[in-house]
Each structure stands twice: as C-alpha cells, then as structure tokens.
Amino acid sequence: MTTEGSNDGRSFALGAAGLILVGCVWLMGFFYAPIDANQGEVYRIMFLHVPSAFTAFASALGLFVFSIMGLRKRQEQSLLRSRAVAEVGLLFTILTLATGSIWGKPTWGIWWTWDARLTTTFMLALLYAGWLMLYTSMSSGPGRIRACAVLGILIFADVPIIYQSVNWWRTLHQPQSMIRAGGSTMDPAILTTLLVGIVVMILCASVLTALRSKNLALRDEVEKASFDQMRN
C-alpha cells in the first residue's frame, strides 16, 4: 500500500470511529437517559438536535478562524478549509432544522413557525449556502479570499444572535435549560448525555471537515497537474 493510501485508510478509519461514537451517544440517549417527566419519549430527539445545533455553531467558529487566517495570510489553503467547514456547517444546520421541526410537530402541534430561534437558525443555513455560492461563483485569487473571509466573519456574528434569541424575544421556543444562571434544570443523566453528545458530534464534524478539506486540496492538485500536462 502507498503512503497516500495508508494515510487515506487512517483518515477513513478515524471518520468511521467518529460515526460509531455518535451512534454510541444516540444509544446512550435511548438507554441511559431517563424519560422526561413532561414530554415523555419524544424528548429523545434532543440528543440529536442539540448536539447538531452546537456543531453548527462550532463550524461557524471554525469558519471565522479560517476567514481571519485567510485575510492575514491570503492563502488558498485557508479558503479550502473554509469551504470544507462551511459545507459541514450547512449539513449540521439542516440537521438541526429538520430534527427541530420533527420534534415541534408532536410537542407544539406545528412543523414550523417564524419564531426568533427558528428564524435565526434558518438564516444561518442561508448564510452557509450563500457562502458556498459566493465561493463557487468567483474565480480564484485575492478577491475571492477577501470576499469569502468577510462573509465568513459575518456568518459567525449570527451565532450569538441565535443563542440569545430566546432571551431577547420571547416567542415559542423554550428558554435555555442547559447553560443558565443558577445551574441547569436538567436531570444529571440527561445533562451528561447531552454534553457528551455535543463533544462527540463536534469531534465527528472536525474529522468530516478534515476529510473534505483533503479532498478539495487533492482536487486542486489534479487540476494543476492536468493544466501542466496540457501546457507541456
């Protein structure tokens, strides 16, 4: 096996391990966490929904960091990482919206409402999609690095707005119950499962981002090698 092949094998194994860990946390949500006194069994969707939301926020932080690096160093490599993290961020934002909507139907009686938390999260999905459209619509160069970096920084600004939306506007979404002044109101087993879920989901997203980032770098390498071959 070549060095590249064995490196790929290790990366894929790491990705598979991340996914298995996510599966273990889901099982923890079903068999370790007790039933919720008010919501019954349907609350178990939270063990997927809440970690997905935090991972979408963490991706926005990653995009912010790579955008700052891109502005400072003006390297295409930062842009490739930004693209990978934006894709993964979009994936987890869609998962957050989908699972929230599925939870909302039996709990609130509706699939969707233009509640402050839901609307600002939907905006995050649109912003990630917009970032990817901006990236693909511009030709490579310093202009694209600058434009994508500025949008990447703006996307991160949506995260505190989403987080505080339940405090600033009292609409349908319940207020924070995990991180709040005076301590969490949750059962310790539920809180532990959620915290472990958040850490594992962010780790899994980091591995997926690294895998995609490497693919994007390889694609650049193929394009450059093809171009060189055509010139010679």
């Binding site: 990705g15 069994e41 994936l91 989908a98 709990t107 390498e221 090698a225 060189d228």
Partner: protein, 51 residues
C-alpha cells in the same frame, strides 16, 4: 413506560424519522468523501502516468 405525548400522539415515528435523517446525512456525507477521495487518487495517478 410512557410512550405517548401531546394528547396520545405516538412519538415513535417522529423519533425514528429524526434519527434516520441524522444517520442518512452523516453516513451519506462520509461515504461521499470516501468515494470522492478514491476517485481523486485514481485521477491523480492517471495524470501523473500520462505525463
């Protein structure tokens, strides 16, 4: 075990749908990166062989 909520709604289809969507999205994205990586490695090897 209490398996109903909100006026007797059975939560099972909702829980199943949420976790199926989650598994499909995560596994799908992972599988796509694996397939893409293999395709890119083959392409790169072919380009290097030609040159």
């Amino acid at each position: 075990m209490n398996t109903s909520f909100a006026g007797g709604t059975d939560p099972t289809p909702y829980i199943a749908a949420a976790y199926l969507i989650g598994a499909a999205l995560l596994l799908g994205y992972y599988a796509w990166t694996v397939v893409e990586r293999r395709k890119l490695r083959r392409l790169l090897a072919a380009v290097h062989r030609k040159s």
